[in-house]
Amino acid sequence: VVPGVHDSFALGAGPETTGLASDLQARDAELAEALEYQKAVSNVLAIISSAPAALESVLHDITAIAAELCEGFDATILLREGGNLRVGAHSGSIPLDFIAKPITPTWITGRAVLERAPVHVEDFSVAADEFPEGYELHRRHGHRTGLAIPLLHDGEAIGAFMIRRLEVRPFTPRQIAVLQTFADQAVIAINNATLLREIRQRTEQAEEALAFQTATSRVLNVISRSPSNLQPVLETILETACDLCGAYDGIVLFRDKDFLTVRAHRGPIPVDFDRWPLSRQWVAGRSVVDGVPVHVADLTAAGDEFPQGHKMSLRFGHRTILAVPLLRGKSAIGTLVVRRMEVRPFSDKQVALLQTFADQAVIAIENVRLFDQVQDRTARLQEALEYQTATSDVLNVISRSPSDLQPVLDAIVKTAARLCSAEYAFIARYEGGECRLAAANNLELAHIQYLARHPVSPNRDSVTGRVALEKRTIHVPDVLADPEFKRLDWQEVGKQRTVLGVPLLREGGLLGVIILARTDVQPFSDSQIELVTTFADQAVIAIANFELFDQVQARTRELQESLDYQTATSDVLKALSRSAFDLQPVLDTLVSTAVTLCRADKGFLSTLFEGRYRVQAAFGFSQEGIDWMRQNDIAPDQAGTLVGRVAIEKQAVHVVDVTTDPRYTWSEAVAAVDFRTGLGIPLLRDGLPIGVLSLVRTRPEAFTGKQIELVTTFADQAVIAIENARLLGELRAQSEVLAASVDELRMLGETGQAVSSTLDLKAVIDTIAQRSIELGQGHGCALFRYDRALREFSLWRSVGLPEADVAELKALRIRETETAMGRAISERQPISIHDLREAPSFPLRDATLRLGLRSVLIVPLLRADRAFGALVLWRRATGPFASRTVDVMQTFANQSVLAIQNARLFRQIEEKSRELEVASRHKSHFLANMSHELRTPMNAVLGFTEMMADGLYGPLPEKALKALERVQANGKHLLDLINDVLDLSKIEAGQLSLVFEDYALGQVVQTVMTGTESLARAKGLSLTAQIEDRLPIGRGDERRLTQVLLNLVGNAIKFTSEGSVEVTARGHGERFEIAVRDTGPGIAAEDQDRIFEEFQQVDSSSTRQKGGSGLGLAISKRFIEMHGGTLTVQSALGRGSTFVVSVPIRAGELVEAA
């Protein structure tokens, strides 16, 4: 809606009588106007296209043309800038006393922008209400008519076009249309300008990026071109850095321990040092120490911070300086410095760029370092590899011929000569004070013969002798120039000039000498000397190896023997571990192995059993021999026997020949067993002989010490085996006992669980009976019930008895005098009958005998003074029950009693809750029905009353009307009661569910206020509501919440006779809190809980006085609780009451999710 817009064409159209002439005139004028507009528009377009960048002048031209064309006194273009409109261009005679103004609807331009529609005011002098701000402007500058047109771009207002007139004269639609066109063109111009600015910016950025890119790639190029030469890289970096950062001068400094050294410099500013101590006193130093770029805008003014740098700047005149550390990892290895003669700090971008160059410098430095390292390593590796190969060649030979020394020494001299470029080489062994040729390479025959004839003694005459004498490496560059060398005869044969001799030393002792010789003077290098030393060591190893070889062979033979023993021992151990439970195979193995290994003919092992030594294992005997030995146990005191003597002496007894040993007297044994030599070893446990291991030979031949030792080992192992077997036996017995009690505990536990986990009594009792049979090793188990009135027992549940017989047993009426169960109950303890056949004949006893059951255990089921029955366990065998079984059965009996009681209680609870449920269902149904049935007559009562009161049946006397009012009021009260009762019954029956929807709490409170206003007014009470601003949207049952608040506010009004009722609604965390405060009588503390109960008011008299069902608060509380909220009251007598509803703001979501 554009206020004040008039259709000037409609107004301007003359009456019909004006005629054609005036019509034509009007058309002419129109045409002229249109042409003029056309021209103006094209003018503007020309301006826009000719000067796209000069936005301000374009906008100014547009305003000028617009003002002129549309007969405005001024025209203004305002541009949006955040929340303001800023003047972009203005032309005309009306002053403009602001630069920017907030966008508000209080002036036409603000409103045009806000509404994105033209705003036209015909006369500002009467628009004070609508445009207070615009009115103010009018008061200051006197303009009357105004038009504002928004500048729209993509639906957004980016500004506005404003045109004003000093007189009251509205703009014509055509003028408005033209101004609209101008507005559009202004938008185009603005857009063009924006685009152009962006393009320029982008272009500049792109150019800058390109320059950096080029510089970086140039540096990288140099780095890759000269991997081994750092200098060109550093110079390129400096050159590029200076160019790009606009610096005159650059330096690269490297850290060298505590100094910085100049590595590259470029530029006119002098550097008068090669190295300078590293410190934080100058800029470059600090950048290295701190590891961060240091940038000083004016060094001449930074004397306090950089005293050193300050001095330098005074000398050379540089002012601005930037140093960027060269960082490898976290430590600076140097720094890149750029300097300027004038004070002109480097931009952030330049600093960043310089850091890039610093990184590249580090890369280059790293490259060079790595390159050098690689080359160095490669060279060293090559050498090491060659030596390695040689050494391994020699080692190869050593390992190929362990028993033969010669090939090894040959290989050594040959390789040494080759690798060290010697003319020839030889090894001389030192034996008996002389060095004799042992191996030679490339020696002429004459030379060999010479050496054979002239062994060298340790003396200083020759290199060989000198090495032998001093036991160290001797290197003589030229023997002929050596004053001590005397063996010219030797030199004549050998032609040696440069000689290298290395001793072969073992633990300080001289084994020989290795000599390398050159026939021209050409000293050996250090690494060659080192290599020969290695060869010397290898020669020593080879010699040592060779000597060891003999020893090894001897030891190998010994080793083989012990290995056999070892194997035997381990066989025995294997047998031991294989048959840990069975002693016999172990002992058999022991005896047979001992016999075999010790080259005996027979052997046996006797153990102490009931005071005598009996044969337990034997090997090599005939069956008759074994039988004889079995029949002839040996007493521990039979000194004339081998076994007896061992037992007495408790140590090994060796009888080399029984026929000649005077202490051996048992000739029957010799005859029966046939032996001459005997060896007996005691099996000692804790010093006591528990057995004897005996080996015999049929011919007289003594056992060796080693054999006796071996048999002793076997005897020890026999002791271990016997001990193990004994312990194992005990362990097994104990485990069995343990397993049995674990079983028992498990079953007891399971039974306990059955009792507590199932309320099915039959299942529990059956479990108990089943477990009783398992644990008591019985064949049948039953639970008998006891009828106290009849003094009779009857079978209830049984396990293990044939079904047909169970039916028969169940039919029995067992009098307490005709069964031992009677006695068990009266004595209150278990009774067992070991043989039912000996018990007196009664129907139950006879029936169980027929089932083949012979003994019985009866446990009474008792609780306090009451007997429930008996748990009975039968067995087919006769005899007593173990005390453990009796204990277990007693536990089971207790559990049975518990189960019976549990079941009884549970049954009672179940019945009660079923009754309750039915009663509650009836109640809800009744209430719902009643409520419905009551409504129908209420309809007639209230309907007729209302129509009578409305005068439908004619006018009524005043008194009758008053009476009708009372009928109506009471009828409505009755209806409220019915409704409340229905609500409550529905809540209780769970039929009432909330409908969750979004709601506005402010709206709810407002509704309640509207509904209760008249009640409050009628009582002269003030009723107010305070609703917090910007409450969030709630979720809940709006209708019920409204009902609750109506109830609370209604109550407050009802119970307050003077003062006020005040409602406040606010958000509190995740909850809404609505408080209803009144100045009523208040509620005593003791009544505060009661009022939320059904049919409760503070006292019944107040109910009569104030009306109400007394259900409202109870229902309200339920509704709020169904929202997950609370309804509470704070009050004291005489102090008024405050009811507070607190509900989750998004209640529905919680409840729905739950």
Partner: protein
């Protein structure tokens, strides 16, 4: 032209109220005592509006409404359900059956008249 309203209601007292109310308001009232009769009268008299009790003998109000709304000749007639069922979902059930509007018993005669006028007023 006088508008004709069909009241389907089995309680005489309630019929009397509506009769007195609509008489005084200048409507023509025709009455049926059960659902089946209501259906027949709707077919015969083509009333301008029907007030439908829900708890009715023979055919209940839901079924009667469903049948009227199934008849192409009658389905345009607005039906206002008048019920004393106050259980949750009653309103939804009457809508599902095809009733155009709903008023709960006990109703205020003034409100009922307002509702009727909303459908039949000029």
């Amino acid at each position: 032209m006088t508008k004709r309203i069909l009241l389907v209601e089995d309680t005489e007292d309630n019929r009397q109220i509506v009769r007195d109310l609509l008489d005084s308001a200048g409507f023509e009232l025709i009455e049926a005592h059960d659902g089946a009769a209501g259906l027949a009268m709707a077919e015969e008299h083509k009333p301008d509006l029907i007030l439908m009790d829900i708890q009715l003998p023979v055919l209940d109000g839901y079924e009667t409404t469903r049948r009227i709304k199934a008849d192409p000749a009658l389905k345009h007639i607005p039906i206002i359900a008048v019920t004393s069922y106050a259980l949750s979902g009653d309103q939804a059930k009457t809508r599902a059956a095809g009733c155009d509007d709903y008023i709960a018993k006990p109703f205020s005669p003034r409100q009922l008249l307002a509702k009727i006028n909303a459908y039949l007023g000029d």
